[in-house]
């Protein structure tokens, strides 16, 4: 393949970043995310086992459900014995716990943080609001279905779900990870345009790049 040809393909891979002002275009990466496949079955199995035993949760309370994360962290429920630990930065986290209703303003930050996490990454959606809007189903300002915007691995129903339910949810996530079913990262890439369309439909003030590396 000639170099020119490669360049063309690469250009197609670039994102438009239309909503950024001219002078900021060079300050954000404009590459498209790509899918990264698993290793061979056994090795990946081992890795998934390790991943499931070491879940690093993004400590970002996005809704009222985040209140339930505190007792989970502290002595009463002690999530650390399950290998779950909070991380202060999305770069290092592997699990994103979306804590309940997500307003438009919040979903923008959720998307940004989710995209900044390094895969394999998992999403636990907490509370009814993330499933179908919950009590805010008719609000002008909160989304109804989280899975239209980012791929969700485990939903935990309830308003709000108690820490026990959260632990159950984490355990469900672990099972899914070990079974190799949590490929949200690749799913997001595969259906990238669809997700972006949904996101941009509600986030009118999109002053960030199309993919937040």
């Amino acid at each position: 393949m000639s170099n020119k040809h490669i360049d063309e393909i690469e250009n197609q891979m670039k994102l438009a970043n239309e909503s950024l002002p001219e002078k900021e275009c060079s300050l954000f990466a404009d590459d498209r995310p790509t899918t990264v496949g698993a290793f061979n079955k056994y090795y990946e199995g081992f890795l998934n086992w390790a991943r499931s035993r070491s879940l690093w949760m993004l400590a970002f309370g996005t809704g009222c459900g985040a209140t339930e994360l505190r007792p989970l962290m502290t002595s009463r429920y002690d999530m650390s014995r399950y290998g779950i630990a909070p991380r202060p930065t999305p770069r290092q986290a592997s699990v994103f716990v979306v804590g309940g209703y997500a307003s438009i303003k919040t979903i923008k930050r959720i998307i940004r943080s989710y995209e900044q996490m390094q895969g394999p990454k998992y999403v636990i959606a907490l509370g009814s609001c993330t499933i179908n809007g919950g009590m805010y189903y008719d609000s002008y300002n909160t989304i109804n279905r989280l899975d239209y915007y980012i791929p969700v691995d485990v939903y935990i129903a309830g308003c709000m779900p108690r820490p026990e339910a959260l632990i159950a949810g984490f355990n469900r996530l672990k099972e899914k990870i070990r079974a190799g079913e949590c490929e949200g990262m690749n799913e997001y890439v595969e259906k990238f345009d669809w997700y972006k369309k949904n996101q941009k439909q509600i986030i009118k003030d999109w002053n960030m790049p199309d993919y937040n590396w």
Partner: protein, 307 residues
């Protein structure tokens, strides 16, 4: 001894130290948890964490210096460890201590920190330099009592050669620096609190103020390298302290026992105290530990502390 044997020995020694350091990290988390009244993660959790971070499929790099930052850090840890003779009289754990003496070890510590600071700096996140500024400043402060203690030790044994310092402490536990020069040990142990960066001196990572500070942009494989270093470097520091102040070790078991207790000191302090503000931390080190360090030198050099 051929160079390849030496390399092989070094590899074994490094592996043992890393595993040991990481396990210690796990134990610390367990202890913290018990102090909090929790079960805590299993002691092998650090290993799982390392596997997890290094098994990430993608990573993000901010540039070449960012890429090399963790490499510098681990190289610093490796180097520091490799220039320390771990077990007295053991060829297997003798490492490359013939390349230099105590001063080399003390300065090699900076190698990793400087490199990491540069890598984190290129990350472009404002919290990185904030954390580094705190870290460097705190380092400059806690190095003062530590240096004074080291100088006292050098005067006492008239040597900067770690092996001969250890050799001089053999015989009875009463020959340990701990008993022959207690002031120096006090100064050094207080500065070790700063080195290990447990609270009250955890101002660099400070998750609640400057979320994790310097490595905030570090991810995936970069982070796993840093985690590995954390284990190795902890072991290296402990071994150094053991050699200088606690009579060194003649076998692996003794090494493990001694370093474990040295480490527990900072762990217990860390579990019991809340965090200082940065300026409190600097001032703390420049006050009493420094005075103790100066006293230790006066004791050794001028009052005839060496009998």
């Amino acid at each position: 001894m051929s160079i390849w044997t030496q390399v092989l020995y070094a590899a074994i020694s490094v592996t043992v130290a890393t595993v040991y350091g990481l396990t210690l990290g796990g134990i610390v988390r367990k202890i913290y948890a018990r102090v909090h009244g929790r079960f805590g993660p299993p002691v092998w959790q650090p290993f799982l964490d390392i596997i997890q971070t290094s098994s990430r499929r993608v990573s993000v790099s901010h540039g070449n210096m960012f890429l090399l930052g963790p490499v510098f850090r681990l190289a610093g840890g490796l180097g520091t460890y490799l220039f320390i003779p771990v077990i007295f009289g053991s060829a297997l754990f003798g490492n490359f201590s013939m390349a230099g003496d105590l001063l080399l070890v003390m300065y090699f510590v900076f190698f990793g920190q400087l490199g990491m600071a540069l890598g984190a700096g290129q990350g472009g996140h404002p919290y990185s330099p904030l954390g580094i500024a705190r870290g460097l400043a705190q380092m400059s402060a806690f190095e003062v009592p530590f240096t004074l203690a080291v100088i006292a030790v050098a005067i006492q044994y008239n040597s900067l050669n770690i092996t001969s310092i250890v050799a001089a402490q053999q015989g009875s536990f009463l020959n340990w620096t701990l008993f022959t020069n207690p002031l120096a040990v006090i100064a050094a142990m207080i500065s070790m609190l700063g080195m290990n960066m447990h609270s009250p001196f955890s101002i660099v990572l400070a998750p609640q103020e400057i979320p994790i500070g310097p490595p905030i942009e570090m991810n995936s494989g970069f982070l796993s390298i840093l985690q590995t270093n954390r284990g190795l470097f902890a072991a290296a520091k402990l071994v150094l302290f053991m050699n200088l102040f606690f009579g060194g070790a003649t076998n692996l078991l003794e090494m493990i026992a001694k370093t474990f207790f040295i480490y527990m000191f900072s762990v217990f302090v860390g579990a019991a105290y809340p965090r200082f503000r940065p300026e409190q931390s600097f001032r703390f080190f420049l006050k009493w530990p420094t005075v103790v360090g100066v006293l230790s030198i006066i004791y050794i050099a001028y009052l005839g502390g060496v009998s």
